[in-house]
Structures are given as structure tokens and as C-alpha cells.
Point group: C2
Chain length 427, copies 2
């Protein structure tokens, strides 16, 4: 059977399943799986995978190997209420395997007043399904699940394994996916349907959080010249960080970044210092996020920040006496990069064009995903492409276009056929 | 009797009273009269003034006239636990009157760990009396009280009235002294023994607190170019305020300010903005203190700040869209200025030289005092000079040199004789 025929069959089957699948996404969105509250949705997903005949693994991640791992980042160390789920659809052998990875943790709904409806309503209006997590990324997860389900319904037997991963902790830096890797799950490639507006992101920007402590010396505001203002010194630090950002971006020549004003930004998001209007501030804390280029080692990026801060003494000798303290803390996402001529890229492009009638846009993501971990640690090249709406992720009135969920499912199903291969008898 | 004879008598009497006076200062320091806790010391001072035969007025300030007064500044509006005290030593008539003003409120002791001893110990070691308030300004208040007492003991009858004022709320902007003025107390001149290291401050810097709100526009840190960083905009605001400070100080030509690097500083003491390292900060709050020159109208200083912030649009059009918000809040001290050829200056100089053997240093204070209110509102020219140690005011291990307390008392007593005049029979 040729791919065009597969496409017709898959499309028709997905149309038949549309109402039921939409209900399932509503159910998922109505389960408010914010950090620490993921057990309910994960158990329900595990049951469904079991019903579909997959080999299901639901477990609570723990242990020294995980917690002491250099890539482990989480605000917590106990995950009892947040199990991971993996379901393996075993292939017949002789084909390439594929991970379909997605996270079920969602960011908090935030200020209820900014939502037009209940943040976890799952309401469908004009083809859009609303609610926290609809776009980031339960809609994408549904595309993955439907891709498997539709192939099963059509009696397809793939040669390679398909490993469906429903992970936790992506929003905090990827401990869930790290745990799947440490548990041994890997494949020849991975797809992650994060909300990309159906753009293909073979490369993903990594990022790490940092904290800078800038010191001054206190004095009365009326004799402020007797002190050293940590606020004034912070201006120099912010400028130095800006200079480093420019240097790092100027030397990037990846054409994927051509359209981005600042491909790997360094954002200082928090400033806080001083305690009294009429005292000279003796301490300022700056917190920010440093973008890491695909292919760049995080340690190298760290070293550049360290060097930039050391150079401050050339601008102001005060920094010799009181060097800026640098701390890497909180969240961290490993950058990811898959070559644009990777065979999966060609397959994706072809199926995208077949399904949508147009050529996919290829970009590098401006944020980190679990793809970096899969690529860097599990030798599983990961490509990020999904139906969610980038602009509404993490925002009030988050929604997803249902049409895109089903188009993505269609593309993924066709991609699985091409990537994993199909047993002759099932054709 | 000539002044030299008076000096001998006064000096000898003060020596006799030294032990008792030192105990009294210990008692005062041991009464921790932080804001809201001044009743105990004020009642004890009122009793003492009554025993000395002064007409005593102890009252709790209140009422619309005070609370709605343009110079009223306080974090509170109810002062039940903080009465004011005034004692009038009525003169025989025909002489100039004098206010001796001092505050009993002390700033909090702060971190106990930074004190070598109990912050309210009143302990005397090597001629220094230790404790919060010893220098700022109970030691000075004792000098004033002793000046009256020693004259009484010597049987002196002054022609002019001496008005001893023991006020609250100086540390919060002067509501206590404002209340004495509204109650009708005024005089031909005033002395305020704030901690000046016995320097004479005919002029005092005023100050006002302000709050600036700088706006940005939020965005994800990975696409920070889609937002506008309120932190980056704040740098421009801090620079604009610095430029204004320079302009204001460059045009000051008062020789009293010659030795000060920045006579009327604008101090930005607090910065706070942004909530998340990987988000673009959409709001930054800056809080500071603007120095006001002696002789300058506070409204003029405010207008200059306003104008400087308006000029920001010339540097960055963003400020046309989102102007910086300016708010005057919290504490405020009116500047004060007495001409250097004021007759009280000459008397003070002469008595200072007579008592200490050297010429007094004349400067302008880098901070506000209640003198500004007395000069501006009560037509009572106020000069600030006192025995406290400027450097330890508001600091841990605050102390005062007892010798200076008694020298100041001697100078004040002699000054009262010259300023208020003495009845012939008492000579």
C-alpha cells in the first residue's frame, strides 16, 4: 500500500474517532495536573495504554542515581503523587524505534480573574478546546496517542517499537524524562509534540537560571558618598550581562536563527535590593535565565558568564574588592540539536506536506524542552513539533485548535509507518 | 559679673553635679523610648521639669489641624503612648527667649548580635556612656537640661524665657515639634543639640522620600525581545536621577558645603522588580531620599524631580508610552537655614572658644532635623549643635563622650546668659 492510501485510511479513521478523542482531551484538561497533582491523570493514561495492549510501566521516580544526577533539577525530591508512565507498543522487529514524549504537568492557572471561564473547563468553542494544559501539552499528547491508536485500528503492525512517554516535571527542568532515560528507555529517534504552532524545531534552545549577588557598603543617604551603592553597581552588572548576550548571539550563524532578534537571550527577570529609602543599599540580588545554544555545552556557557563577571574589575575596581557572586540554581533545560538532514526530518517534511498541503516552517525553539535530555543523554535524537498554540502557553485562556490536534496525529501516524516500517502482511 | 567668672562658676557647679547627671543619662538610656514607647521617659522628664519650677505642659498631640497640616508626616495618627513635653522657665522680662529642643524617640536597636552589650545598658566605660539614644540624642537633651539647672543652682534669673522641649517623632519626620509649634510655642531662637560632634550647623539639609514606578511589558525570557524590560528601563531612570543630583549640587555655592562631595544627595535606596527569572520584568519600584538645600522650597525640589523624569522621553520614547510614576511618600524633613551673621552664631562661637579653647567648626548638616520646622513655621531660627557622635547615631554600640555632654551644657548655659540676658540682682 502506498503512503497516499495510508493517509486516506488514517484520515478517515481519525474523523470517525474525533468526537471520542475530543472528549478524552476534555477529560485530560479537566484533570488539573499541576506539579504534585499528576497521579490521577497518569493512572488514567496508564489504564488506557494497557487497554490498547501496550506494555505499561507506571512508577514513582526516586533514588540516588536520579537525585544526584548532574542533570537532575527539581524543587522537590519526593514524587509520590507524580508517577511517570511509559507504554511500549512492541514492534515486530527489524525496524527503527520511536519515542513519543510528552509531559502531563501543567503550570498553575494563575489569576482566575484573567480567565473568561474556569481554567480547567475543557470547554469547546468554535473548534478550540480551552483550559490550562490544552496547548501545553495535553493536545500534543493526544496526537501521539491517536497516532498509535489509529494504526492499531487499521491493523498496522510496525517493525520498530513505539514508546509512548507520559512524563512529569517538564515545567521544572525535566526530571521526569531524565527518570525514563535512567530506567533504560531510549529509541532511534523521538518526537515531542510541544506547542510549536506545527513548526518543526530540530533544535531547541537550552537555558539555565542564575542568581547574581552584587555587594555595596551601607551609609546614610544624606552622606551617600561614604557608602557604595549596590544598586549603582548592579547597573554595571546588568550592562556586562547585556554585553555578554550580544557577543554570544553575534557569533551564532545558524540560519535557523536568522529571524530571531536575539536567538539565545540572557534575561534578567528579577532585581531586589536595599531596605531603606534613605540608606545606601549594600546588597542587590539579580535573578535571570541564560539561553544555551543547541550544540553548546552548558558548562561552556557557565564559564562565559563567569568570565564576563570577572571582567567587571576592568570597568570598576570595586569588583576586585567585592566580586559579584554567581550561583546556578533552580530550573535548567539542556539544549537539543538534530541535524537538518537527519532522515526523520525528511519523513516529517513529506508527511507534513501530504497532510497540510504546504511546506513546514523549520525553526529553532526559543525555549528548552525535554528533547535536549533525550538527545544528549539517551542518544535519542529528538524533534519538537506539535499542534499547540505557542502564544497561549502559560497564559490565561489557553486553548488549542482541535483541527491541529488531528492533523498532527495524522502526520505522526504516517511518520511512524515510514520511520518504524510496516510488516508486509499488515499492508 | 563678667563671662569668665560665670564660666568658672558654671564649670565648678557642673563638676559637682557630674555623678548625679551621669546617672540621669543612664536612666534615660535605659528607658527604651522607641516609637510608641515614649510615655515613661516623658512623664519622668515632666516631673523633673516641674520639680525645677518650670511650667510643664505634657500632652498627647491629636486633631485635624495637626493631622491635615502640610508638614505633618508620620506612619501613625494616634499618639496616646507618645506624649510631648514642654517646660517653660519663665524669664523676668525684657530679654530674648530661647527654645532648647530635643527628641526622646530613638531608632530601634536593630540586630542584637551586632551590639557588644545590651543595647539599652547605659553602661559607662572609659568616659563613654553606651546605649541606643545616648548620642541621638538623650546626651544632648541632658546638656540642655543641665544648662537650665546649673543657672538655677547659681541663682541666675534670666530676662528671656527658656522653653525646654522634649519631643517625640523626630525620627519619623518631626510631627512632635510640629505639634509644639501648633500649640503656640516659639521663641527668638532655638538650639537643638543633635549629634554634631560639637560642630555648629546653622544650616540643615532637608529631605523627602519618593517612590518611582517604572513599567515594562512582560514576555518569556526566551523571547525577551517581545517584551520590554522594566529592569533595563530602570537603569535609565537611575541615571537620570544621578544627572539631576549632579545638576542640583553643581549649582550650590554655599561655602559651608565646600568639603562635602555631594552636599544634597539623591539616594536611591531600594529597588525591587520582576517575579520570575525567565520572564521579562514588567514593573520595577525604586524608593529613595532626595536632599533639599537649606533655603530651597520643597515644592521646587519636587518640581525638579518631576521635570527630570519627564525628560526621559528624550532618551527613550518608551517613557512617552509608559511614563515613570512619581510619588512622594513616607518621611520628610524641612531644610533649615540661619544666616551665619545671626547674633546667636557669634555668641555660640565665643562661648565655644571660651569653653573648649578652640574655634568651632561650622558646617551644614547632611541630614534633616526639627530645626527646619522651627525656622520655617515658627519663625524661630534654629541652630543645631550638640555633643553626640555623628558616626554612631543609628548604629550598633552607640555611645556618647560624657565630657562633651558637660562641655555642651557649659556652652549652652553661657549662651543663655548672653542671649536671654541676666537680671542685675542675680549677677
Amino acid at each position: 500500500m502506498n503512503m497516499a492510501n495510508w493517509q486516506t485510511l488514517i484520515h478517515e479513521q481519525l474523523e470517525k474517532d474525533r468526537a471520542q478523542a475530543t472528549s478524552l482531551l476534555q477529560e485530560w484538561v479537566q484533570s488539573p495536573s499541576v506539579q504534585g497533582e499528576e497521579r490521577s491523570i497518569q493512572e488514567s493514561i496508564a489504564s488506557r495504554l494497557a487497554e490498547m495492549g501496550l506494555a505499561v510501566d507506571l512508577w514513582v521516580m526516586e533514588g540516588e542515581e536520579l537525585l544526584a544526577h548532574p542533570y537532575f533539577v527539581s524543587p522537590r525530591t519526593v514524587f509520590d503523587s507524580s508517577p511517570n508512565v511509559v507504554g511500549v507498543w512492541k514492534g515486530q522487529g527489524g525496524g527503527r524505534s520511536m519515542v513519543l514524549n510528552g509531559h502531563v504537568d501543567v503550570v498553575p492557572a494563575g489569576d482566575r480573574a484573567q480567565w473568561s471561564d474556569d481554567p480547567f473547563s475543557g470547554k469547546v468553542v468554535d473548534g478550540k478546546l480551552y483550559g490550562r494544559g490544552a496547548t501545553d501539552m495535553k493536545g500534543g499528547n493526544l496526537s501521539s496517542l491517536l497516532a498509535i491508536q489509529v494504526l492499531q485500528k487499521l491493523g498496522v503492525q510496525l517493525k520498530g517499537d513505539v514508546i509512548f512517554q507520559s512524563v512529569v516535571e517538564e515545567e521544572s527542568g525535566g526530571a521526569g524524562t531524565l527518570a525514563t532515560i535512567l530506567r533504560g528507555y531510549k529509541a532511534d529517534a523521538a518526537l515531542i509534540p510541544e506547542p510549536t504552532n506545527m513548526k518543526i524545531f530540530p533544535k531547541q534552545q537550552g537555558s539555565m537560571w542564575f542568581r547574581l549577588t552584587v555587594k555595596g557598603r551601607s551609609a546614610h543617604g544624606g552622606t551617600r558618598y561614604e557608602g557604595v551603592s549596590a544598586i549603582e553597581k548592579s547597573l554595571l552588572v546588568v550592562q556586562a550581562v547585556g554585553k555578554l548576550e550580544k557577543e554570544r548571539n553575534d557569533r551564532l550563524d545558524d540560519p535557523l536563527y536568522e529571524k530571531l532578534p536575539i536567538p539565545i537571550p540572557i534575561n534578567i527577570g528579577v532585581i531586589e535590593g536595599g531596605k531603606w529609602p534613605s540608606s545606601v543599599a549594600d546588597l542587590v540580588k539579580l535573578e535571570g535565565r541564560m539561553g544555551v545554544a543547541p550544540g553548546e555545552q552548558m558548562e561552556d556557557a557557565k564559564a562565559e558568564m563567569e568570565a564576563a563577571l570577572k571582567q567587571l574589575v576592568e570597568i570598576d575596581p570595586w569588583f576586585a574588592e567585592q566580586p559579584v557572586e554567581l550561583e546556578w540554581y533552580g530550573a535548567r533545560w539542556v539544549p537539543g540539536a538534530v541535524a537538518e538532514d537527519h532522515p526523520l526530518m525528511e519523513i516529517l517534511h513529506n508527511q507534513f506536506t501530504a497532510v497540510t498541503g504546504s511546506r513546514a516552517v523549520v525553526e529553532a525553539s526559543p525555549w528548552g524542552t525535554d528533547g535536549g535530555l533525550l538527545t544528549a543523554l539517551a542518544d535519542t535524537p529528538a524533534i519538537v513539533v506539535g499542534p499547540g498554540v505557542t502564544q497561549v502557553a502559560h497564559y490565561p485562556n489557553e486553548y488549542i485548535e482541535l483541527n491541529d490536534v488531528f492533523r498532527c496525529a495524522e502526520i505522526f501516524a504516517l511518520t511512524l509507518i515510514e520511520w518504524c516500517g510496516v510488516e508486509e502482511e499488515s499492508k
